[in-house]
């Protein structure tokens, strides 16, 4: 798939969620510009936003416009990039169970852990 702009990625990612893609884009941009702990890594047509908690830990979110096959590649690249950046773990909320399959196919080690709100969280090992 051709390389999209960040606006296009976000627009496709939030489609159907009721969120305004421009607002989301502006919020992410604002946060990245003003918070050194908030960074965005792009891999293919996927944006990985993460919050640096220190000690090699990060909270990770994802916006993607990639196809499933591309997403597997993007997640793999992101994991390697985080490893290069000296991160050890990336915590994420599991909103879609399919993400586990993606992580497995991308070869990324992860584990599941329950969250206080009852949802499951995942922890990627870089």
């Amino acid at each position: 798939m051709a390389k999209m702009t960040t606006q296009e990625i976000i627009a496709k990612s939030v489609a159907g969620s009721g969120q305004d893609p421009k607002q989301v884009h502006a919020q992410m941009t604002q946060r990245a510009l003003n918070d050194p702990k908030f960074r965005i890594i792009r891999s293919g047509n996927t944006l990985f936003s993460y919050y640096n908690q220190g000690n090699g830990n990060a909270l990770v979110a994802m916006d993607t416009a990639a196809t499933p096959r591309e997403l597997i590649k993007d997640v793999g690249e992101f994991a390697k990039a985080m490893k290069v950046a000296k991160f050890k773990q990336g915590k994420f909320e599991i909103g879609n169970p399919q993400i586990e399959k993606v992580l497995k196919m991308a070869g990324v080690n992860y584990k599941l852990m329950p969250m206080p709100n009852g949802q499951m969280a995942g922890v990627m090992e870089f």
């Binding site: 607002q23 992410m28 909270l59 993607t64 390697k80 290069v84 915590k91 599991i94 909103g95």
Partner: protein
């Protein structure tokens, strides 16, 4: 947005809304403040082909290392500028390797060893273009391509300079005659120099300056000391050549002329223009037109120096006309094309006629 850490991102909500409000328009805010992004490929640039970068994307080792190091810094909290200059968009730097490939020619032969190839330099230089593109919200690939192309050209230029410098400084073995061993092999030397000691010829004295001498008489043994010598023994001096002075192409020879004048000059570029003449046909036509015009002026009673100016459009229409064989008198200032019967052309009017005749 998948809910990996939706809450963290949402924390930016208030600030983001304020940011948007300040900007006045979300779209404009996006344009004015492009999202600072670190390309994952920038972080892994140093990994090389073994990592994320396929061989075709491979950057030169120094560029990849610099890119990766800067990206790591940015990923760990470096400021936005650092993200940009770092390779934030350095994925574009890697892409530029491909973008530049068509621009970069084959390696320049003769370039000094160690000089950066245009392709490698272009890939590194592309970061600048990509950064510019990212910060201005433009297409990164395009900017990277431009930056890379420029950088590649610069590198090519550097290699060219290096090549030229190498040619100047790299001694080429020379072989000179070994006078200490006549008949022996020549001596190889790396000393560069102009071995020619022949002076440049003087344009004003092709044969050189100075005097040449000849004995006034032959030096045959039979004539030495004999009083029968026809000339007084000695040396007759004469100039090597007669200096020639030709400023502006004029040959001012200093040789005495036969008529006793010391200097004779003949301009080499004498004017050879000849008077311009009209063809008989043109002369006839001109006389016809001028004659008609003059008669018209005369008929107005003023003549030369008189009040001959037309006073109305009718005057203009009837003044200076020439007759047409097919349609009768033509309007003023027009001459019919007799040969073809084509459209009439304006060739003169009263004003131009008067001006040409010097009538005020």
């Amino acid at each position: 947005m998948t809910k990996w850490v939706q809450s963290e991102v949402n924390k930016a909500g208030d600030a983001g809304q304020k940011f948007v409000n300040t900007a006045g328009d979300v779209g404009q805010a996006i344009i004015d403040h492009p999202m600072p992004i670190i390309e994952s490929i920038a972080l892994t640039a140093a990994i090389g082909p073994q990592g994320l970068l396929p061989a075709s994307y491979a950057l030169s080792a120094p560029v990849a290392a610099a890119t990766s190091a800067a990206a790591v810094t940015a990923a760990n909290g470096g400021d936005v500028k650092q993200i940009a200059t770092a390779a934030a968009t350095a994925g574009a730097g890697a892409e530029a390797t491909q973008l530049v490939a068509p621009y970069a020619g084959p390696a320049i032969s003769g370039a000094a060893s160690g000089s950066i190839s245009p392709v490698a330099s272009a890939a590194g230089g592309a970061v600048g273009g990509a950064v510019k593109g990212a910060l201005t919200g433009q297409d990164i690939g395009k900017e990277a391509g431009i930056g890379a192309a420029v950088s590649g050209l610069a590198a090519a230029g550097a290699q060219g300079a290096s090549e030229a410098y190498g040619a100047m400084t790299t001694p080429t073995p020379q072989y000179v005659t070994n006078y200490a061993d006549p008949g022996g092999p020549p001596i190889q030397t790396n000393i560069q120099g102009n071995y020619s000691i022949a002076p440049q010829s003087n344009p004003y004295s092709p044969d050189g300056f100075g005097l040449k001498g000849q004995p006034t008489t032959g030096l045959d043994a039979s004539t030495i000391g004999q009083s029968t010598a026809s000339e007084t023994p000695g040396i007759k001096l004469s100039p090597l050549s007669n200096p020639v002075f030709t400023p502006g192409g004029v040959n001012y020879s200093l040789a005495p002329s036969g008529s006793g004048e010391g200097i004779q000059g003949q301009p080499a570029d004498a004017l050879t223009t000849s008077p311009q003449t009209l063809s008989p046909a043109a002369q006839s036509a001109l006389q016809s037109v001028l004659g008609a015009g003059l008669s018209a002026i005369g008929s107005k009673g003023g003549g030369v120096g008189g009040s001959s100016a037309p006073t109305s459009a009718t005057d203009l229409a009837t003044t200076g006309t020439t007759s047409s064989p097919t349609s009768g008198p033509a309007p003023g200032g027009e001459v019919g094309d007799i040969s073809t019967g084509g459209a009439k052309k304006n060739v003169w009017n009263l004003e131009s006629l008067r001006e040409g005749l010097g009538i005020t």
